[in-house]
């Protein structure tokens, strides 16, 4: 846990730091030895230097002429309240027989991840799920227009735009906003999401998702279907369908949005990846019709490599390989394979610093890109979050779906 290196708050955190340092040391023997220096440029002549550090598709683009420049890594301070919750509650957290999380209250469930633990993958998945994401956030709230802007790119370079916002609230892991630590009555809900599509006009409506902590209880999902202009209750099978016309499926939201207990996890190791934790331009500069960032610089990042396979044999993906930032537990790269085991989609997420309402700097996803390598289509989403906006839990109810007008803002 490298994050502990930068936070000498307490004896407990020092001990965590030591454990983390040990983990990093041990982990380094897993990771590929790569020495990329800030300022170095990678292109067709030296693509081998980033082999294994980017997705296969991006590597091919580098071989074909695209260049990337290396920069100093961006380091974020951990969130004090989150670290305190980790220290306070993590010692009691356990896994149940079916991989469910027991005695979890708040913070990182398993700060002392042991790679030799046969359940390390499951624990890492829970660490990913319960990574710090604020008490609530508005995806797209910190962009210039205050909304998510999504571009769908065809293989021939054609583009279509859509605008939306997405609100998340975590009612039982509140660190900063009152009521803390739980909104009364919401102890059984992990998160709620309200999505409002505003453009194009015919797609304008709302979608609601509620994730329950009961591993056996499926999500409540109400999806607006533009084709029939009706809000429909949806089943879990719809988690796999493409969020048309993008290349994302519902479970690709936030890299891996499936119910944790619906999947098997395997910690494959640790790896240094190219990432961008301080995106410079928003949206990143790109040529019309192409998803590649032209002038964003990349940094070397330590990640855990997590293999995700569904327990349901009929699930849409064969497996998904996540590369989870050891500092923030966010995913920076996904490699997605279809059910035949063939490379299907490649995802990367840029991050950037944003401010909390109290002025503290934290990290947020910036632009995320997914490329379907089988059909050549891609989707670029500008989605920088605004955290801790103080949304009322009542906003995430069916009443909101009843009242929102086309294109109306909710704030």
């Amino acid at each position: 846990m490298r994050i502990k290196l930068r936070r000498p708050f307490s004896i407990a955190s020092c001990s965590l730091f030591l454990v983390s340092a040990l983990l990093i040391h041990c982990g380094s023997s897993w990771a590929a030895e790569v020495e990329l220096k800030p300022g170095e440029t990678i292109g067709p002549s030296n693509w081998q230097r980033v082999q294994g550090m980017v997705g296969e598709n991006l590597l091919n683009r580098i071989k074909g002429g695209h260049t990337v420049q290396i920069k100093e890594p961006k380091v974020y301070k951990p969130i004090k309240e989150y670290v305190e919750a980790t220290e306070k509650y993590s010692k009691n957290v356990k896994l149940g027989p079916n991989g469910e999380l027991l005695s979890y209250v708040a913070g990182l469930p398993f700060p002392n991840l042991d790679r030799n633990d046969p359940q390390a993958g499951q624990k890492l998945a829970w660490n990913f799920f319960w990574r710090w994401l604020g008490d609530d956030y508005k995806t797209g709230g910190a962009t210039k227009g205050g909304k998510i802007v999504r571009f769908v790119l065809e293989k021939d370079g054609s583009e279509r735009r859509a605008d939306l916002v997405s609100y998340f609230i975590f009612p039982r892991t509140r660190y900063m906003l009152d009521p803390k630590p739980v909104i009364p009555g919401y102890e059984h809900i992990d998160y709620m999401q309200l999505r409002i599509d505003s453009y194009p006009r015919d797609a304008a409506s709302t979608t609601l998702e509620i994730r329950y902590d009961d591993p056996k209880r499926p999500d409540d999902l109400y999806i607006y279907l533009p084709s029939i202009r009706r809000i429909r209750r949806a089943t879990t099978t719809q988690r796999c369908q493409t969020l048309a016309p993008s290349e994302y499926v519902l479970d690709d939201i936030n890299s891996h949005n499936g119910k944790i207990t619906d999947f098997n996890y395997k910690l494959l190791g640790e790896k240094k990846m190219l990432a961008n934790m301080s995106q410079e331009h928003e949206p990143y500069h790109r040529k019309p019709g192409d998803y590649l960032p032209i002038d964003e610089k990349w940094e070397v990042l330590d990640t855990y490599v997590l293999e995700v396979t569904a327990k349901d044999p009929n699930y849409c993906y064969g497996k998904k390989i996540l590369h989870i930032n050891k500092m923030t537990y966010d995913n920076v790269w996904s490699y997605i394979y279809d059910r035949k085991g063939e490379y299907f989609k490649e995802f990367w997420g840029f991050f950037k610093p944003v401010k909390l309402p109290d002025g503290r700097e934290v990290w947020s996803v910036g632009d995320v890109t997914i490329v379907n390598v089988q059909n050549g289509r891609s989707t670029v989403v500008t989605a920088t979050r605004a955290y801790n906006r103080g949304y009322p839990a009542s906003m995430f109810s069916l009443a909101t779906l009843q009242r929102i007008q086309r294109g109306e803002s909710i704030e």
């Binding site: 029939i228 009929n314 059909n375 109810s397 007008q405």
Partner: protein
């Protein structure tokens, strides 16, 4: 008048085209605070649409005169969202429609169905040229759990597709759209907004315990008529009011040829003897007060609601004739010659219920289907009733037990819907582009049923149980640029509707959609159910630009 209406629509069109093109420039010339306000708090959207219809039915007497073009409907709908305050939002839109009617069409209609000297429908019948807002909704949220909406608005408790059970709060405009063809104009397109207020109070958000109350005083004028599907002659003001999609011409024969009285005759028989004098006593679209309340709640994964609506029923097919008097040349009255008939839409009320639930497995077999249901109970719902056969060889005649032709029966209407998606890779270019399937069952049950109950427009009997099934499947190909959608409806009495559509959404613009849509009807005869429209088979080209 007509000319000024046309001019105003064109001017509005031109104005919005200018706005579209010059939006950036317009913003820049505004000074400080205004520019900030418009940039941050005002959003503009809407659409422009053109629908062209072509009659393709082999038996249509209306559209075989000179050509088969029967419809060209041009619509502009600008919409503004204004964030007045964090707790106050205003949504306002206008709808401008120009729909020229073809002279040959009008002439054909006049020859076929209009008794001289009754003039045909005016050529601006389908137009919308008023600057009165189409929707104007002020939403106030004084509390997080309380939302107050005032203004002209849509309120829908129902989520069925194609046919309605609880989506009966706003009336539907059935003048311009072929019925049960949601791929062309769905219920959202044809719903008429109503002035009023709606209150949503979230009592317990975690359980979605929501109290929903509305009150619509009904300010809209009579043009928003609701009965055009089963249109009929109105001899009171001498104007024949039937829309393009009103029912079969035999149901609206001129009074001189039997008029509505023919409805009681054998539909293919001789001219009947009853010569009715009909006066419409229709409510306006939202005439008089309509009030309703509903409570919804979650029990585990089950979402359900109970409600009550009091007011006029806006569904045209629910209207009834009331026979005021019958004149006979002598006694006993075996062969009446004149009947004074009112076509009325009585005030009614209904109890409403709905639920939705997802079913993952049944007996370990994956079902993965969302089930939804809607139910409406109409106490003492009025129906027309006749005795079969009628006197002097008529198919039906006045019922001796019900001299005003009306009987009231408790009625239950309900629907069950089953929605699911499926990935069918061998039918797709992209294996994760889902097929969406929806099956709906609609039933209407008349309690304490009596033989002889029939709709006001025909002498076809209504059984105790009326049933309809709908099935819909849709998907997207080539990155959702080709969007096929098939809607089917079937009445086990032997009637059907097919409403296929394929839409092209070009990959280079999210604003444009071009659709080719068909609406085909058929069945056992043309006097009942979807058979009403069996001469109305049509195809449409729909072009839509969103901004």
């Amino acid at each position: 008048m007509e000319r000024s209406g046309r001019v105003s629509v064109y001017w509005v069109g031109a104005l919005f085209l200018v706005l579209l093109v010059a939006r950036a420039e317009a913003a820049s010339i505004l000074g400080g605070e205004w520019e900030k306000f418009f940039t941050e708090r005002v959003r503009f959207g809407g659409y422009i649409e053109n629908v062209t219809g072509l009659a393709v039915g082999p038996h249509n007497p209306h559209f075989n005169v000179s050509n088969r073009f029967q419809m060209n409907r041009f619509t502009i709908q600008p919409e503004f969202n204004i964030d007045i305050h964090d707790k106050a939002k205003l949504f306002i839109s206008w709808k401008f429609v120009k729909e020229p009617r073809y002279n040959d069409e009008a002439r054909a209609r006049r020859i076929t169905v209009s008794p001289k000297p009754v003039p045909p429908l005016e050529n601006t019948f389908y137009d919308e040229k008023s600057f009165k807002p189409w929707e104007a909704v002020l939403t106030l949220s004084p509390l997080d759990v309380l939302s107050l909406r005032f203004g002209r608005q849509f309120i829908s408790w129902g989520e069925t597709d194609g046919l309605r059970i609880l989506d009966v709060i706003n009336p539907q405009d059935t003048r311009f759209s072929p019925p049960v063809a949601p791929n062309l104009f769905d219920l959202d397109d044809t719903r008429i907004p109503s002035w009023g207020m709606r209150v949503l109070y979230t009592m317990n958000p975690v359980n979605n315990s929501i109290l929903d109350f509305f009150a619509l005083p009904g300010f809209d004028d009579a043009k928003r008529r609701v009965d055009d599907i089963v249109g009929s002659n109105d001899t009171a003001d001498g104007i024949v009011r039937y829309g393009r999609w009103s029912a079969h011409p035999e149901t609206r024969l001129p009074a001189s040829a039997g008029g509505i009285g023919r409805l009681y005759a054998n539909p293919v028989g001789v001219v009947p003897v009853v010569i009715p004098s009909v006066t419409r006593r229709l409510p306006d679209a939202g005439d008089s007060w309509k009030i309703g309340a509903r409570f919804t709640h979650n029990i585990g994964g089950l979402n359900l609601g109970l409600g009550y609506i009091w007011g006029f029923n806006p569904q045209g097919a629910d209207m009834v004739f009331k026979v005021r008097s019958v004149s006979c040349p002598g006694a006993p009255c075996l062969a009446p010659t004149t009947a004074l008939i009112d076509l009325v839409n009585d005030r009614t009320h209904l109890f409403a219920a709905h639920f939705n639930y997802t079913v993952g497995e049944i007996a370990s077999i994956p079902f993965n289907t969302a089930v939804r249901g809607e139910l409406a109970f109409y106490p003492d719902k009025p129906y027309n009733i006749s005795i079969y056969p009628g006197p002097t060889g008529l198919k039906a005649g006045p019922h001796p037990k019900h001299p005003n032709g009306i009987v009231e029966k408790h009625t239950i209407r309900y629907s069950l819907g089953f929605d699911r998606t499926a990935l069918i890779p061998f039918l797709q270019d992209d294996p994760l582009r889902a097929f969406r399937f929806s099956l709906q069952l609609f039933q209407s049950i008349i309690l304490d049923h009596e033989d002889g109950i029939h709709p006001f427009s025909t002498a076809e009997k209504i059984g105790q149980v009326s049933t309809a099934f709908t099935f819909r499947v849709s998907t997207g190909y080539l990155g959702d640029t080709i969007l096929p959608d098939l809607f089917l409806a079937y009445d086990p009495d032997g009637y059907w509707v097919a409403n296929p559509a394929v839409t092209y959404a070009p990959p280079w613009s999210e604003k444009i959609k071009i659709g080719l849509i068909g609406a085909f009807y058929g069945g056992r005869n043309k006097f009942k159910s979807f058979g009403f429209f069996d001469e109305k088979d049509s195809v449409f080209l729909k072009m839509r630009y969103q901004f």
